[in-house]
């Protein structure tokens, strides 16, 4: 284990006011806190529409969820940053894109009014809203990621479909995930992670949070910096277990109703 004291990470949050639905601000807090516990100095910067910012300055880029109207609002600005963000991901830059942000990091999102919002194509995926009359995907989610559970809450009208060759982040155990059909949740390419999970997702999935930190440390300081000191995660794991229970008991009662 290396001494990470004095190391720094820059966390950029894209559109922190517009894309911050369902507590996504907790994700930056989780990174900040888990870095601080290891004496890694994490600086969190918000990037708003029109801000002069380059992904080169970042070690981790976060983008959260928003309603359709907020996604529409940011898409032109995001387009302008598309080349730079694709380049950043090519060079192993770390990304966590949640819900609306996840959709806009795919090729495009067709909103409930059928209007197309262009994405930046980091994930080889497209998202579409089936229309205002079709129910949203709402509820607690459990998914399996590298053999471990990740938990969170999803609430999305859009359905995401991964193209052939695009890896999913996780497999759905309970909940809808990308589209409620193929059992897949999120997407992953290089060090870019996309997911529909809110919660906020990182505080109660400390392994996922540490993965992002570890990847960013490795990219900036070399492979030996990827090894992180373990932390006391008892509070996080209790919340994780509780969310797991909430998801699975809802599923059980739904199954119970069906077979009753």
């Amino acid at each position: 284990m290396t001494d990470t004291d004095g190391h720094q990470l820059n966390v950029a949050v894209l559109y922190p006011d517009l894309l911050n639905l369902y507590g996504d601000r907790g994700n930056a807090r989780a990174l900040e806190r888990r870095c601080a516990a290891r004496e890694i100095e994490a600086t969190v910067t918000g990037v708003d529409i029109g801000d002069d910012w380059s992904p080169e300055e970042a070690d981790i880029v976060l983008v959260g969820g928003g309603q359709d109207r907020e996604q529409r609002r940011v898409q032109a600005d995001l387009q302008q940053r598309g080349d730079a963000l694709r380049e950043y991901v090519d060079q192993d830059g770390v990304v966590l894109a949640v819900c609306g942000g996840f959709q806009l990091f795919g090729h495009h999102y067709r909103g409930w009014d059928c209007e197309i919002m262009e994405g930046i194509g980091i994930f080889d995926a497209v998202a579409a809203h089936p229309g205002p009359r079709i129910a949203r995907c709402v509820g607690n989610v459990v998914a399996l990621w590298e053999g471990e559970t990740v938990v969170g809450f999803e609430n999305h009208g859009g359905r995401t479909y991964l193209n052939d060759g695009q890896e999913a982040l996780a497999d759905v155990v309970s909940g809808f995930g990308n589209n409620g059909g193929d059992g897949l949740e999120g997407a992953k390419i290089k060090n870019a992670y996309g997911t529909y999970l809110h919660g906020a997702v990182l505080p109660k999935n400390p392994r996922l949070a540490d993965r992002l930190i570890s990847l960013a440390m490795e990219r900036r300081y070399g492979p030996e910096a990827a090894d992180l000191t373990p932390l006391d995660d008892s509070a996080a794991l209790r919340a994780h277990a509780e969310a797991l229970h909430a998801a699975l008991s809802a599923r059980e009662s739904a199954l119970g109703r069906r077979f009753a």
């Binding site: 006011d17 517009l18 911050n20 639905l21 369902y22 507590g23 996504d24 601000r25 907790g26 807090r29 989780a30 806190r33 309603q67 359709d68 109207r69 907020e70 609002r73 949203r136 709402v138 509820g139 607690n140 809450f153 609430n155 809110h198 919660g199 906020a200 505080p203 109660k204 509070a235 996080a236 209790r238 919340a239 277990a241 509780e242 969310a243 909430a246």
Partner: protein
């Protein structure tokens, strides 16, 4: 006085709805006036204040109390008040809370004499969908209002102020005019970020909380001047004083409630009262006799300890509740209860949008409970609150006794529950013999 701990008030409505699908319709026809209160936050308290004012004016009032504000609760309230022959006492006024989404149906069954729109904030998007769809539904609902009805709008909320565009009838605007109200902390959650018509950002010269404040846009839209305003607002302990500027005359009000949101509720109730022809002096008397409604700012005595219950069902509501707990030097014992039932919102992510950090220096001891207590505990650990003194209990009863144990005699326990946790904890307080403060004082 009603006993504490009567929870399910929607049942008679369900029964009658089945027996007679248009029960509410038929009963509503006998009313002399109907006031509908809708909006995300403040419905219950506003309705309670309005009912007080109308009673102070000598009127008979039916009121769907207890947060039972879906269609069924409204029917229940009308049925409960009706005579055995199914008629309402003559000259009876109805004060009806209308759930945001249920407003069109309720307005159809009980056409409003006056309708109050308090605010539109992020609340349980898992239940209601996107915020603009509610604004749209409200604008459409105005089409079925009787033409001679009055709408009362909180103009400090830009989404509410814009409803005036869809209404040709009479409109009463209310808002806060006091330049000395402290601004909302930077970064506090806010939903109406821009004008859906022009896509312009809302800008603020003053922002009080959430998106409420003195707003304008670059294309020249701005907060309209209110007809009814609150000024010279002075927070006290257990009360707040302000000058209520009515078109007739300014009156000094001492409201037995805390927080700026209570002032908004008083403004909303005053606007509705004005539309119903109540005099300023009676409005004042009604407001000053206000008692906290079911679980909102309620204070009781249990086993010799003072217990305050502050309901917080969404980020802006909870932020406002917390703001009443931030007097310099003050410390509280906190019991935070987080449930994820349908009426609470099954998504508990919103706790990340609440400024719990503000409590770090005011929290003397912490207990957490409810079905998502561990989620809450994690959030509060992030906020820098002291570690919970008792193990996390999903059971509200266990959490309540642990919290009471942690409070020394003569000190106060503040309970911050979500909606269903509030019903639960209130029932338990009742079983423990809780008495209202003013019953013993």
């Amino acid at each position: 006085m009603r006993a504490l701990g009567s929870g399910g008030t929607a049942l008679p409505g369900l029964v009658v709805e089945r027996l007679q699908s248009n029960a509410a319709d038929q009963l509503a026809r006998g009313l002399s006036a109907t006031a509908l209160i809708t909006g995300t936050n403040g419905k219950t308290t506003t309705a309670a204040m309005l009912a007080r004012i109308l009673r102070a004016d000598g009127r008979e009032v039916v009121h769907n109390r207890s947060g039972s504000n879906l269609m069924r609760g409204v029917t229940a309230a009308l049925v409960e008040a009706a005579t055995p022959l199914g008629r309402l006492p003559s000259s009876c006024s109805a004060v009806l809370e209308a759930d945001e989404a249920a407003l069109p149906a309720i307005a159809e069954a009980a056409p409003p004499t006056v309708a109050v729109f308090t605010n539109l904030m992020r609340d349980q998007l898992d239940r209601y969908g996107e915020i603009e769809s509610i604004a749209l539904r409200w604008a459409e609902a105005l089409n079925i209002f009787p033409r001679d009805s009055t709408i009362a709008l909180n103009v400090d909320d830009p989404l509410i102020a814009s409803l005036a565009m869809h209404w040709k009838g009479s409109c009463l605007r209310y808002g806060i005019e006091d330049p000395n109200v402290p601004p909302a902390p930077a970064g506090e959650i806010m939903d109406a970020v821009w004008d859906p018509q022009t896509q312009d950002d809302f800008r603020y010269t003053r922002r009080y909380f959430a998106q409420l404040g003195r707003w304008h846009t670059r294309s020249g839209a701005e907060r309209p001047c209110p007809d009814i305003a609150a000024d010279e607002i002075e927070p006290g302990s257990g009360s707040i004083t302000f000058t209520l500027r009515l078109p007739e005359a300014p009156i000094a009000v001492t409201l037995p409630a805390e927080g700026l949101y209570s002032v908004y509720n008083a403004l909303a109730a005053s606007a509705a009262s004005m539309a119903l022809g109540v005099s300023p002096e009676t409005i004042r008397r009604g407001l000053e006799s206000h008692e906290a409604a079911f679980g909102r700012q309620e204070e009781v005595i249990v086993e010799g300890r003072r217990v305050r219950v502050l309901l917080g069902k969404n980020p802006s509501g909870m932020n406002q509740a917390l703001r009443t707990l931030q007097r310099p030097g003050e410390r509280h014992h906190l019991l935070v209860l987080l449930n994820d039932g349908i009426a609470d919102g099954t998504d508990v992510s919103w706790i990340w949008d609440v400024d719990w950090e503000s409590q770090a220096e005011h929290c003397a001891s912490l207990t957490v409970g409810g079905r998502r207590a561990a989620d809450m505990a994690l959030r509060l650990e992030y906020a820098g609150l002291p570690a919970p003194g008792a193990p996390i209990a999903n059971d509200v009863g266990l959490a309540l006794s642990a919290a009471l144990d942690a409070v020394p005699d003569s000190e106060q326990l503040v309970i911050l529950p979500t909606y269903t946790a509030m019903l639960d904890v209130r029932q338990r307080l009742g079983q423990m013999g809780a008495s209202r403060l003013w019953d013993v004082a």
